[in-house]
Amino acid sequence: MRTIDVGKITNSDMLIGSGRGRSDFPRFVEAAFVALEPETILWDWSNVRVATASYFAAAFVPVMRMLSAAELEKYFVLFGLNENCKDELEFVLETEGLAVFFAENMRDGRILSARPIGKLDSVHAQTLDRVIRRSGISAKRLYADSAGGKKAKVGKTAWINRLVALHKLRLITRKRVGKEYIYAVPYLEV
């Protein structure tokens, strides 16, 4: 896991406006894609006092969109956002139909707990919750768990679709093990 200090790369603690966001966008791209190997990036916003919706929309959201558009195996986790910055970011994510992990609890550089912020419908939120509770899970296992020996309400294909959608949002990692994919949250080692 690599940490990027947003205050450092933008050289400011006041990140306001789409104009500023557009001019900072290349700094976010450079910081995130310095290497193309799969990784989890921890964006540290603790040195930022004010960041507005327009700024997030111009500087950070396009970088998030690049992950799935370019099918890059990179995963973002944010931490250190103050309440106002988080509120501004959530506003943008909900409008844009995106979600990202926000680390609520950290110790010694390790994430102890995180939750998604942004727009996630209940079906995908429940699926993500099941993935969070396991350190790595396949669609087959989710199907078996939900069936519990009886006829399952949710078919295996539906679980696959949900996991693929969450992976496309880069909320969960995907690793091929044998014939199946194992999905996990990006801040935990499988």
Binding site: D13, M14, I16, G19, V50, T52, A57, E83, N84
Partner: protein
């Protein structure tokens, strides 16, 4: 020339709007009563600034009132210092961190609009005053105004009046630029001010749009004044309204 601003709306923001009017008409306006009395020192200071001939980034301060002639862009250290001082003053007047962040961001967004959309070499103005758990701020420019700006977007070319353009501009996602991720500034400003039961006044050319939540009855007023170039924004809000 009679002051075109009704006295009951006179604030620091109205004072900078008056400066815009003077600059536009190239002559001095009659000093309104309110500025003649309790804010006369401020008015003299504003006049003494010699805007817009003064250098960008220059400013005046009187107690917790600050005015700045906008620098060239948001990376200017003087602008960052101005925002820091706003946050500090809000904190001194007991504004919670989340609110002070939202209000600082909202003011910054309005200034960013000047840089992004005004299309004029005349520098804009930004001013704020924090007193007794209250914040008043104003942002003004003498640029192309909202109608001409928003009509650059082909989707809004049908707009014919500044009032229509103002009403459109305050909606989320509406911008003169067609790319995604735009048009958050006004909606976030109005939201932040509404949470404090405050007052927002937007003027562009002859159109004035007022969002007033200072009383029980929410008001959204439309008013028409003589045309004035650019956009002038006045915001007034305080903590006492939510404490009540």
């Amino acid at each position: 020339m009679k002051s075109p601003i009704p006295d009951r709306e006179l604030t620091l923001a109205a004072a900078i709007e008056l400066l815009c009017i003077e600059q536009h008409l190239s002559k001095s306006a009659n000093t309104p009563d309110c500025l003649r009395s309790n804010q006369s020192r401020l008015w003299r200071l504003l006049k003494g600034l010699n805007w817009p001939s003064c250098p960008r980034g220059s400013g005046v301060q009187l107690g917790s009132t600050r005015l700045m002639v906008l620098p060239l862009d948001s990376r200017d250290w003087q602008w960052t210092a101005f925002l820091h001082s706003l946050q500090r003053d809000l904190k001194q007047h007991s504004f919670p961190d989340q609110l002070s962040g939202a209000l600082t961001g909202a003011m910054g967004e309005m200034v960013d609009n000047v840089w992004e959309h005004s299309e004029t070499c005349v520098p804009g103005l930004a001013a704020y005053e924090v007193t007794h758990r209250r914040l008043d701020f104003g942002v003004a420019d003498l640029g192309i105004g909202i109608l001409r700006s928003i009509r650059r977007n082909p989707n809004y070319r049908y707009l014919n009046s500044s009032m229509e353009a103002l009403q459109k501009a305050v909606l989320r996602g509406v911008s003169r630029l067609r790319d995604q991720n735009r048009g958050y500034g006004f909606s976030r400003l109005l939201q932040a001010v509404a949470e404090l039961w405050g007052f927002t006044r937007l003027r562009s050319s002859e159109a004035v749009l007022v969002f007033d939540r200072r009383t029980e009855k929410r008001r959204r007023l439309q008013r028409y004044l003589p045309p004035l170039p650019g956009v002038q924004i006045a915001v007034s809000c305080g903590l006492d309204a939510i404490a009540d």
